[in-house]
């Protein structure tokens, strides 16, 4: 019997295959759909399709008073709501020329950095989870929960705070907040070394992420990539230093950048490790701010009516994901004529079609995880 198979090679089709990933997919971090053009296992082109979570944020804003918009900003980036509040308040304070009491600025920095820790923990944990490391996720979520407990103690909400208002914050720090925060930091600092042992320098993790999805710095800048994803490519760029606001100029901290320690500069591992180092820097900032926080009235500068003068402002803010911009046009009334949110993850996601080209399908998961997107703010 002839065991040889006779296949006419010319009959085998070798077209590109279009593979659909999402919108309901565990590793797309929400409702993102990727149309992947593949050649065997190799990715040739990716078309991200977004808009599944579009909630007409900008249209709503044109019908709401300025104070009423604060809770809406919460719901855009629900992983780092404090940053969304702060960026919005900052834009209006610049437009109205409000001077804040120093206590408010310090409170905002403390909660902002706690939020950065919480947000990065989710980013790193889910990144690990996406490529198969389940334990680090549970550890990181456990510690994020402690930050959320602090926020609950602070303002009653765990995720959507509505805490930072135009001209101040909604409540002063509760009595034991500073002590509890210190206790948390004492507990949390040694945990980071454990995360490093468990995930960062894990051989399997490095194999999956180092030298994968390299994002060159010039491409990153041209696509408007910001935040840890840009710094992973070795660009020393952080709005807290480069276009400073609040009391960041008075505080000492470093900007970690990707160095290509495990592979090349700008690979997935670098983007991951920049976030890990940023957590350490955030702890440094909180420790300094807790020492320096002055007394004062947090409601002193809150305006009775938020009515910015006629004009426009573009103000930007460094969130856990990158540059958050608000472009506000005011005609002197109590509702904005136009409010545009420049969302950091929107630009960070757009670069995926550029960096994913030529990698395997399994690497797409790693690349997407390392970009740390939140669909709520992409779709708005």
């Amino acid at each position: 019997m002839n065991t040889k198979t006779h296949i006419d090679q010319s009959l085998i089709k070798t077209d590109e295959m279009v593979l659909n990933m999402g919108p309901q997919h565990p590793s797309t971090h929400g409702v993102l759909r990727l149309k992947i053009h593949t050649d065997g296992e190799i990715v040739r082109k990716i078309e991200p399709i977004i808009g599944y979570l579009h909630r007409c944020f900008e249209k709503h804003c044109e019908n709401l008073g300025y104070e009423q918009i604060v809770p809406f900003t919460d719901r855009c980036d629900y992983i780092a709501s404090m940053h969304m509040n702060h960026g919005y308040a900052l834009a209006l304070e610049r437009l109205m020329g409000i001077e804040l009491p120093p206590r408010v600025e310090y409170i905002r920095v403390i909660v902002g950095e706690l939020q950065r820790i919480a947000s990065h923990l989710v980013a790193l944990g889910t990144f690990g989870l996406d490529i198969g490391a389940i334990t680090p996720f549970t550890w990181m979520i456990r510690d994020r929960e402690r930050v959320l407990d602090l926020f609950e103690y602070l303002c009653g909400a765990r995720l959507l705070y509505n805490y930072i208002w135009v001209g101040g914050v909604s409540h002063d720090l509760p009595e034991k907040f500073i002590r509890r925060t210190k206790e948390f930091l004492d507990y949390f600092t040694p945990q980071i070394d454990e995360f490093d042992q468990l995930l960062t320098f894990n051989k399997i993790f490095i194999e999956r992420t180092a030298d994968v999805g390299i994002l060159p710095p010039d491409v990153a800048v041209n696509y408007g990539v910001t935040g840890p994803s840009l710094r992973g490519s070795g660009v020393n760029w952080d709005l807290r230093k480069n276009d400073s606001y609040s009391v960041y100029p008075d505080l000492e901290f470093d900007i970690p950048v990707g160095t290509g320690q495990m592979g090349s500069v700008g690979d997935c591992w670098d983007r991951y490790y920049v976030r890990m180092l940023e957590i350490r820097e955030s702890i440094r900032i909180i420790n300094q701010a807790l020492k320096a926080i002055p007394a004062g009235d947090v409601h002193a500068a809150i305006p009775k009516k938020v009515r910015p003068p006629k004009g426009s402002v573009y103000s930007r803010f460094e969130t856990a994901r990158g540059e958050l911009g608000y472009y506000i046009i005011s005609d002197g009334k109590n509702i904005p004529v136009r409010l545009k949110m420049r969302s950091p993850a929107f630009c960070n996601l757009s670069v995926i079609s550029e960096i994913a080209e030529g990698w395997m399908i399994s690497d797409i998961i790693a690349i997407l995880g390392s970009l740390d997107i939140v669909l709520g703010e992409i779709d708005r």
Partner: protein, 162 residues
């Protein structure tokens, strides 16, 4: 660089193609001149606006014009610039800068989606946030909400709680 210096460089490189509003640190450009000015902004050694931070459409509602506002930043030099381009509502077209700054790709699609401004020369101009078969451009001030979408009532039914 200060705005006055940026204006000086632009006066030499593309004189007559823009109008400056000195108090707002803004330049206004007509759509037909926009591509020329944009290329200068990116390529000029003194300006080097390598980063397009934001591109937002707007409709002020008090005239028959739509517009976009582009915010540029130079990472090297540390200066920023606002550029405003206005186009008539009847036939809104602006040349696309998506091939110069890739950030503009998705932002222009968003402006097209929500304002209906056509960006000439855009590689793939289609809706981005709304479904492909949506009618109208919601952020225009004269937008009238449709009654239904695929048989689903859009208007809020308040009969039971108001």
């Amino acid at each position: 660089m200060e705005f006055s210096q940026i204006k000086k460089v632009l006066d030499i490189r593309c004189s007559g193609l823009f109008e400056a509003e000195i108090d707002r640190h803004t330049i206004r450009v007509l759509p037909e001149n926009w591509l020329t000015v944009a290329k200068v902004l990116k390529a000029d050694a003194d300006l080097t606006f390598d980063s397009l931070m934001c591109l937002s459409g707007f409709d002020l509602g008090d005239s028959d014009m739509l517009g976009i506002a582009c915010h540029f930043y130079s990472m090297d030099k540390g200066h920023m610039l606002e550029v405003i381009i206005e186009t008539p509502k009847k036939n809104p077209t602006i040349p696309s800068i998506a091939n110069i700054w890739r950030t503009a790709d998705w932002h222009e699609r968003e402006v097209y989606d929500l304002y209906g401004i056509i960006f000439e020369g855009h590689p793939d101009l289609k809706r981005i946030l709304l479904p492909d078969d949506w009618e109208g451009h919601p952020l225009r001030k004269d937008y009238v909400q449709a009654e239904t979408y695929h048989g689903i009532t859009i208007k809020k039914d308040k009969t039971y709680w108001e």
